[in-house]
Amino acid sequence: MKTNGSATISPRSIREMGKPVKQLAHVRLEDLPPLPPPYDKLEEAPGFRELTETARATYESSLDDTIAVSLPKPATPEEEKALVEAFFNGLEKLFTRENNWTFLEPLTLSMEHCARCHTCSQDCPVFVMSGENEVYRPSFRAEVLRRLYFKHVKKGTRLFSLFENGGIESNWTTISRLMELAYRCTLCRRCAQSCPIGVDNGLITHELRKIFSMEMGIAPKELHEKGTVQQLRVGSSTGMNPIAIKDNVDFIDEDMTDRTGIKVESKWDVEGAEILLIHNAGEYLAWPENPGAFALMLDAAGISWTLSSDLVAYDGVNYGLFYDDAQLARVAARHLEVAKKLKVRKIVMGECGHEHKALGVIADRVFNNTIPRESAMTLMEEIVFSGRLELDPARNDFPVTLHDPCNITRAMGIVEPQRRVLRAIAPQFREMEPHGTRNYCCGGGSGFAIMSGHNFQDWRMHISGRMKMKQILEAFDDTDLESNEVKKYVCAPCSNCKGQIRDLLDFYGAREKSGIYYGGLVELIVNAMTVVKEPFLDWDMM
């Protein structure tokens, strides 16, 4: 029997956020909605590791069963007081046009108009798949921040504010829990899509993260120190400098050439190329066949393209999107500068959802006169239907489903190109339900896919990723999920989503048990290319 301790705990009032109890919320595995068979047996489910006593004693951890930020507890009352003051300074700055012109209007409107009707709740996969634990309701953290806003920022009488908006304790307990709670939402914005008024709880979470990062210098190290800071300093959040990336790509090219019998040679810093292709650099390390397949496909299609070896420009990652506008702007600025320097006609964003959003739409209003950006989905569609490649769909004759990255579909409306490709090259393509702009997040959004400190991975496997696991299993429910003989492919054209889906399939043993594999879109295209003599997809290596 896999269990994780005592009965479920769920707050019963908003004010409990400031109540000094050891743990505000606790989720029992027994109370989570079951996955479809054969993954529905609790006794066979992986466990949920408890936080160690040392971790509990060292870091702020009074919210729930896990830790995302790892902020050491303040050592003295003075330190605690300073943190509280810094938070409220940040909260005030968040509502000034100088500091937050980027999101002032959407934030203010979302703060002031929520009807607390909970129409958003059932659209949140985290809330639903946590067994509806109150602390994960999309409006819960928004409501806590809203009360702090009306109490400390919004002008008006204290009494009226209490009457209209309710009260909240302005103590470190509330704030430290808010800090952790800011990292229990994947920013998928499905809740915002269902709000009849237009309130965006995902945005509120995003803005909350900004207070901690931009004012207090507090963010998960995977996103900040090892993420954007490392990317700006070394060149990539993976830690690869320009020499390392070139070495890696050389190796990938050689491997691709060996595997396919076709000479693959990636291009570097080609001035005046049609396309500057920017991949999420995680691909080079975790899924090298993806950039390799792009190189092969682009050359076969006769497209003029290049990679850049300039710092930052060979990594499309931009974690600033998730927590910090300054870091977002810095990374995007480097991407755009290099494109101008190379005089390319356009940037193509590789299979990475948040790169799409950061560079494709957000950067649009941070800088003027930028090089246009286009999605790899669009480019792949254009290539597949151009007739420049000879494709044999029979090579992909196995069950394929498509995961829609939130940032590509819901945030950008790029829905059909990837589907048209799959319909053309994968005879057994089937949709997940729901899909397109109503998709569910993989559970690794907003940086979670790279966050695994303490037992955070257990949380994102059991809770934030649970809905996606359910969807994947349901998409293949016409096959025998008790057997791994029929190989099934989850196409996830996004690096972070792939990371999360990889972890989910590993966690639940779905590869061994049910033959479920995952990968990107370009791999399926190359797998269908008749000039590639051997099947490109190597199930044993996946």
Partner: protein
């Protein structure tokens, strides 16, 4: 002769308008924000039905942007009139929220009819006399039906919502004293409207006279107790609404058009360039070590530095 009702009405209307204008001006004057649209965006011609956008097109920046205003209008009307979002995502609440909202729309519609009636009267039209008089008679009949229907629907909705807010633990947890007060106030408005029509056969005519008197500053008819209560509740609600979240009446337009559906690209020489330039030159004061704004560095300064050198 001006009475206390005249003064209260003008005050209530003025506070409603001022509150609304302040809310709207405040939003309009806010800086251009980063793109944060959510798809489906209904003005995406030919693509809105599946949530697609122009960004699906190869070289989309060379494509002429086609905006489907009818598509937007259709979605807005569905959202406002039948609360489609609540219907689709929170059906149990819709059965309470829709009657409340629709009851309110009917009472607002009735106000328009009563003002129209007052204009008839001011132009010398008498009930039942001549063609215009027949129209006025019909209008009074409609006022009765719409007013009573609004009262019934709205009262049902307000009481049902109140019941939900009290007995549903999830809703109760987020409710504030103001939540109950607002619903009770709305219930009082609807109940008094219903009482007004149910207890006084001359209510429509009396209401037209009331509006004539209020519009001109002239004499008011005898006001029944129900009428006085109804007027009082409505005036208080009008003055109070802009102070609450119910001011989404004024701002919902912006939440949809300025944010959820706002997808204007920043093209070279386009209308956004100047606004963006002004904003990125503002000084920031974020204090985290990697920004260290201190009110002396602009957004451009921050974005063109690596953040490493800012650490102190």
């Amino acid at each position: 002769m001006l009475t206390a009702w005249h003064v209260l009405t003008y005050l209530g209307a003025a506070l409603f308008l001022i509150g609304g204008v302040v809310r709207i001006v405040r939003v309009v004057r806010m800086p251009l924000h980063l793109r944060w649209e959510l798809y489906p965006v209904p003005h995406e011609k030919g693509k809105a039905h599946y949530g697609g956008s122009v960004l699906e097109e190869s070289n989309w920046w060379l494509t002429k942007r086609e905006v489907d205003h009818w598509g937007e209008l259709k979605v807005m009307l569905e959202e406002i009139l039948i609360l489609k979002g609540v219907w689709e995502h929170n059906r149990p609440l819709w059965y309470a929220s829709f009657p409340l909202h629709f009851g309110l729309y009917l009472l607002i519609g009735n106000l328009v009819l009563l003002i129209a009636g007052a204009i008839f009267v001011l132009n010398g039209v008498q009930v039942g006399v001549g063609n215009s008089g027949l129209i006025l008679s019909f209008l009074l009949l409609v006022v009765t039906i719409v007013g009573a229907a609004g009262g019934v629907l709205g009262l049902f909705g307000a009481l049902y919502l109140l019941q939900k807010r009290i007995f549903d633990p999830a809703l109760r947890m987020y409710a504030n004293p103001g939540t109950y007060f607002n619903l009770a106030l709305l219930a009082a408005i609807f109940a008094s409207a219903l009482t007004l029509f149910a207890t006084d056969l001359n209510a429509p005519q009396r209401l037209v006279s009331l509006h004539t008197g209020l519009l001109t500053g002239g004499n008011l008819p005898f006001l029944t107790a129900a009428m006085q209560w109804h007027l009082g509740f409505c005036l208080f609600f009008a003055a109070y609404l802009p102070l609450t979240h119910m001011s989404h009446l004024f701002t919902k337009y912006f939440l949809y058009h300025d944010i959820r559906w706002e997808d204007t690209p920043n093209t070279p020489g386009g209308k956004l360039e100047g606004r963006i330039l002004a904003q990125v030159n503002q000084k920031v004061s974020w204090s985290a070590p990697h920004i260290n704004g201190q009110g002396s560095r602009s957004w451009v300064d921050v974005a063109t530095s690596t953040g490493v050198e800012e650490k102190v």
